[in-house]
Every structure is written in structure tokens, then in C-alpha cells.
């Protein structure tokens, strides 16, 4: 094969793959504006399903709970995940390093169903021993912090590894304490990674169905739990509208996160060039 022909094949596979990834979402967005409740009949353009969302109390309550969980869990995960990343990058040897590495990476691949059931069993046993935590908001947040921490650590770890340590050392030579040097020099450098991992955790938490279903207990329902039970019962056109809203909101979060990361990359590259 000649090189040009080979790259044509590659590029067509790439675009085929991207089309496969996006077609279902685009079709779903299209359905959400369909006036007819029948999926295969186009009844004209309508935003009625969006109006209906605003009157669905169950859905709104679940959305509120999910937002609370997502804000709390991503904040907690960014703090813990950053600490873990600093520990793994800065301290070459400490007791429990291997354990921490394993516990940071394993949640990324652990099937949710296993994490969900084991955490529920922990919470149930803890309640027996300490009468805490009761199932609901607290347990959902704790379990979301666990899997989100892994994502934060991995993101911040790679950013810290590429960060220039000489600046921090210069600050310490000038008399700053290690903590102050870290807070005033390194933290601003890794700040974009912190913001983007917060946004990513937010979307991950907002999306979780399986782990939440196990740990939520009978009283609480997050948004994905309500969506799942609605979808399981059959097609309901208002879910199309809800899905469109969520997909767009998440899309904005991700684009902002990606933009922050590339902008800071570019700025750093520019600074490195100027410094030369």
C-alpha cells in the first residue's frame, strides 16, 4: 500500500468511529424535539417535553440530590486525590506506597457492581458498630469520593511529574517553608489540572447508577436511578429531553476542562520558550 492510501484508510476508520460515537446522541437530541410521543413518527417540532420536565417533582428532587452529591464528592475527591498524587510523586519511598498505588489504580478498572456491593456491606456493618453512616446522601458521597479520587490522582500525578521542581526549590532557597513553596508555587501550576479533574469527577458522580443503587438505601434516589427505572419501564419521551439537557451540560463541562488544560499547556510552552 502506498502511504497516501494507507492514511486515507486510517482517516476513514477514524471518522467512521467518531460517527458511531455521535450518531445515537444526535438522534436522541432530534427525538427530544419530536411533538409525537411515538418514536418512529415525526409529529413536528416541539419543546413540550422540556416543559414537562419542569413539572416532574420526582425528577427534580432526584436532580437536586444528584447535584448535591456531585458537588460534595468532587470537592472531597480533589482534596484526597491531590494529596495522594503529591505523596506518590514527591515521596519516593514510604511505608504503604505500593498499597496506595494499587488502591489509586484499582478503582479505575474495578467493575462498579463489585465496588457497590462491597461498600454497601461496609456501611451496613459500620452502622451496626458505630450507628453511622446511615444510608442516603452520606453513603452516596463517601462511595463517589472513593472512585473519583482515583481519577483525580491519575490526572494530577501526570501534571505534577511534568511540573518544574526547580521553581519550588528556588522558593525554598529564598526561605519559604516547603508547605508555603508548594502552596504558592506548585499549586498555581497544577491548578488547571485540579479544576478539570473537579469537573470530570462532577460528571462521573452525576452519571453513576450502579454504585449509588447499592449504597443509597431505600429512601434516596439519584437522577440516574430515576432515569434507569423510567427507561426500564419503556420509552418515555421526556427522558429524551432530560438526556439532551444533561448531555449538553456535561459537554460544556468537558469542553471547558479540556480548554483549560490545553490553554495552560500552551502558556507553559510559551513561557519555556521565553525563558530560553
Amino acid at each position: 500500500m502506498r502511504p497516501e492510501r494507507r492514511s486515507t484508510v486510517l482517516v476513514s476508520v477514524l471518522f467512521f468511529g467518531i460517527a458511531v460515537l455521535y450518531l445515537p446522541i444526535l438522534v436522541l437530541i432530534g427525538y427530544s424535539f419530536n411533538a409525537s410521543p411515538l418514536v418512529n413518527v415525526w409529529g413536528g417540532f416541539s419543546t413540550a417535553w422540556y416543559g414537562q420536565l419542569l413539572h416532574d417533582r420526582q425528577l427534580l428532587g432526584a436532580a437536586l440530590l444528584s447535584l448535591q452529591v456531585a458537588v460534595a464528592a468532587s470537592t472531597g475527591a480533589v482534596v484526597l486525590g491531590t494529596l495522594a498524587a503529591v505523596a506518590l510523586v514527591r515521596f519516593a519511598r514510604f511505608p504503604g506506597r505500593l498499597l496506595l498505588t494499587g488502591m489509586v489504580n484499582a478503582p479505575l478498572v474495578m467493575p462498579e457492581i463489585i465496588t457497590g456491593i462491597t461498600q454497601l456491606l461496609l456501611f451496613v456493618s459500620m452502622v451496626q458498630l458505630f450507628s453511622w453512616p446511615h444510608r442516603g446522601l452520606t453513603t452516596i458521597v463517601l462511595s463517589h469520593v472513593t472512585f473519583c479520587t482515583a481519577y483525580v490522582t491519575v490526572t494530577v500525578q501526570s501534571r505534577l511529574q511534568s511540573a518544574d521542581r526547580s521553581l519550588e526549590e528556588a522558593a525554598m532557597d529564598l526561605g519559604a517553608t516547603p508547605a508555603r513553596a508548594f502552596l504558592e508555587v506548585t499549586l498555581p501550576i497544577i491548578a488547571p489540572a485540579l479544576i478539570s479533574s473537579w469537573l470530570l469527577c462532577f460528571t462521573l458522580s452525576l452519571d453513576d447508577l450502579v454504585i449509588s443503587s447499592f449504597v443509597a438505601g431505600p429512601g434516596a434516589s439519584t437522577l440516574p436511578m430515576v432515569i434507569y427505572s423510567k427507561v426500564k419501564l419503556g420509552v418515555s419521551p421526556d427522558i429524551n429531553a432530560l438526556a439532551t439537557v444533561i448531555v449538553c451540560a456535561v459537554g460544556v463541562c468537558i469542553v471547558v476542562a479540556g480548554w483549560l488544560m490545553t490553554r495552560s499547556d500552551r502558556r507553559r510552552a510559551l513561557e519555556a520558550q521565553l525563558a530560553r
Binding site: 482534596v79 494499587g102 465496588t115 438526556a243
Partner: protein, 296 residues
């Protein structure tokens, strides 16, 4: 300079270490313990495995009945095998589709790479549940695909895809494709193009250069990507539950039904533990390549 970090070190190490220990690792011990319990009509619905008698003596009542049950009831064996087979073939198809995609991105100009990656990442972070639901809108009997094909006159009856294994395969491939592309891209991007030029100068055909240089050097990405698809796919619940029919029994679904349907927590724990033992190998492989890549 490093020494001055020492006293404060544990302030940094301890919070994440303790948190993950308590909320990630220790739960497995509880699941292990409860997998030896029996169901009981109380809250929580199982018997105590470890307890203290009235005269403060340790009493252990462990039963192997749950594990015995896993071997005698054919449902579990069938579900394990079906999950492994489905995850294996979906991983292969993801690899076949994802490799050229990652390669095309790695070879495109640097300015386009960021955008292309963002395009691949976007569905990866977008709601998993909603994407599975969106796929249902395509492959339903009266969905987009059938409406289109009927309209074009290519078929006279709607294709039956929902509630078949094909739907589960499509669901897994569609949902997990980005997990394959990203690690592959990470290794292919680091590949030095001068190696390929050298091979071409020495008279190697592009195919041979690919086989002898590109493929071996991208192997860590192939393994990381495959594990990132395979391991969660084996435990997948949402896809077989929403797209599959009663015959598409995957282990995640069996565990879910055991727990939420039968309220048999001890058997569900035993299923989880047995499942975890099955995954120890793949997870260890993933960790090994992941740590090596991070430290490279």
C-alpha cells in the same frame, strides 16, 4: 531539602491512604466475611459469621453453602462464561476499530490532535446510562436504523436486534471504544517516526515496518486499552439489562438480581468474591503495565 518534608509527610500521605483503606480495601473483607453467612429474616438480612457468645467467647459460624450453591446452580457457570466470552470478543472488536483510530490521531498534525482527542473524550465522559439509552433509540425494532432501512427499501421487516447478543455486543463496543483509543494513542504518540523512516530506507515494506516496529512498541497501549475494556465489560450491568434479553445473562446482572430481586446478600457476596478472583489476573496485568508506563 527533602528532609524538611519529613515531619509533615504523614499529613499528606495519611488522609488518602486511610480513606481508600477504609472505603475501598476493607469493604472487600466484609464482603468476604458475609459470603460465608446465611440469609436471615432480620436487618441486615444475614447471620453473624463472627460473634461473641454471652461468656465473651469468639464464635465463628462460617458456611460454605453459598459457594457450593454457585457450583451446583448452572445459572452462575453459564453467566460467568457468557460474560467472559462477550467481554473478550467485544474487546477484540474495540481493538480492531480503536487501533486505526488512535493511529490516525497520532499521525495527524499536532494542532488537530487536541481537538480529535476531545471529540473522542466527550462521549467517554458523557452519561454512560444515557448513551446506552441513546443506542436503544437506534437499534429498537421501530428505531432509527430500522426506520431508515425500511424507508430505503433494503429490508421488508424490521431487524430484530434488541434483546439479542448482538445488541449487547453493540452496546459494549459503543460504550467502551474511547477507553481503547486513549491508551493506544498515548503509546502511539510517543513512537519516533524516524524509526519507520529508517526501516523504509532499509527497504522494509510499510506492513513489515508496522509489524516489526509499531506493533511491538505499542503493545503496552494495546494491553492497557484491552484491560480497560475487558475488565469493566465482564462486570457490565446496565448494557445487558437495558439492551439484552433474558438469555443475555451476564454476571453483573445475576449479582444485581440476587441482591435486589432475591435479597440474598450472602449469595450476592459470594458471587462478587468469586468474580473478583476471576479478575485478579487481568487487574494485576493492567496495574503492572500502568505503573510501568507512569514511571517511564
Amino acid at each position: 531539602m527533602k528532609a524538611s518534608w519529613r515531619p509533615g509527610r504523614w499529613l499528606i500521605i495519611l488522609p488518602p491512604l486511610a480513606f481508600l483503606l477504609i472505603f475501598f480495601l476493607i469493604p472487600f473483607l466484609f464482603a468476604f466475611k458475609i459470603s460465608f453467612a446465611e440469609t436471615a429474616p432480620r436487618v441486615p438480612p444475614f447471620t453473624d459469621v463472627v460473634s461473641f457468645t454471652a461468656d465473651h467467647r469468639l464464635h465463628i459460624a462460617a458456611s460454605l453453602a453459598n459457594y457450593r450453591y454457585l457450583f451446583t446452580d448452572p445459572v452462575y457457570g453459564v453467566a460467568y462464561l457468557y460474560s467472559l466470552r462477550t467481554a473478550f470478543f467485544s474487546t477484540l472488536i474495540c481493538l480492531a476499530l480503536g487501533y486505526p483510530m488512535a493511529y490516525a490521531i497520532a499521525r495527524s498534525p499536532k494542532s488537530a490532535q487536541g481537538l480529535l482527542l476531545l471529540i473522542i473524550m466527550l462521549p467517554f465522559w458523557t452519561s454512560f446510562l444515557l448513551r446506552v439509552y441513546a443506542l436503544e433509540g437506534i437499534i429498537r425494532d421501530n428505531g432509527f436504523l430500522n426506520t431508515l432501512l425500511l424507508h430505503l427499501g433494503l429490508i421488508s421487516h424490521p431487524l430484530r436486534i434488541m434483546r439479542t447478543s448482538l445488541a449487547v455486543y453493540l452496546g459494549i463496543i459503543y460504550s467502551y471504544l474511547p477507553f481503547m483509543v486513549l491508551p493506544l494513542f498515548a503509546t502511539l504518540e510517543k513512537l519516533d517516526p524516524s524509526l519507520l523512516e529508517a526501516a523504509a530506507d532499509l527497504g522494509s515494506t510499510p506492513w513489515r515496518a508496522f509489524r516489526d516496529i509499531t506493533l511491538p512498541l505499542s503493545l503496552p497501549g494495546v494491553i492497557a486499552g484491552s484491560m480497560l475494556v475487558f475488565i469493566p465489560a465482564v462486570g457490565e450491568f446496565v448494557i445487558p439489562s437495558l439492551l439484552g434479553g433474558p438469555n443475555q445473562l451476564m454476571i453483573g446482572r445475576v449479582l444485581w438480581d440476587e441482591f435486589f430481586g432475591n435479597h440474598d446478600w450472602p449469595v450476592a457476596s459470594a458471587v462478587a468474591i468469586a468474580f473478583l478472583l476471576l479478575l485478579v489476573g487481568p487487574i494485576a496485568i493492567y496495574q503492572y503495565y500502568n505503573v510501568r508506563q507512569l514511571e517511564a
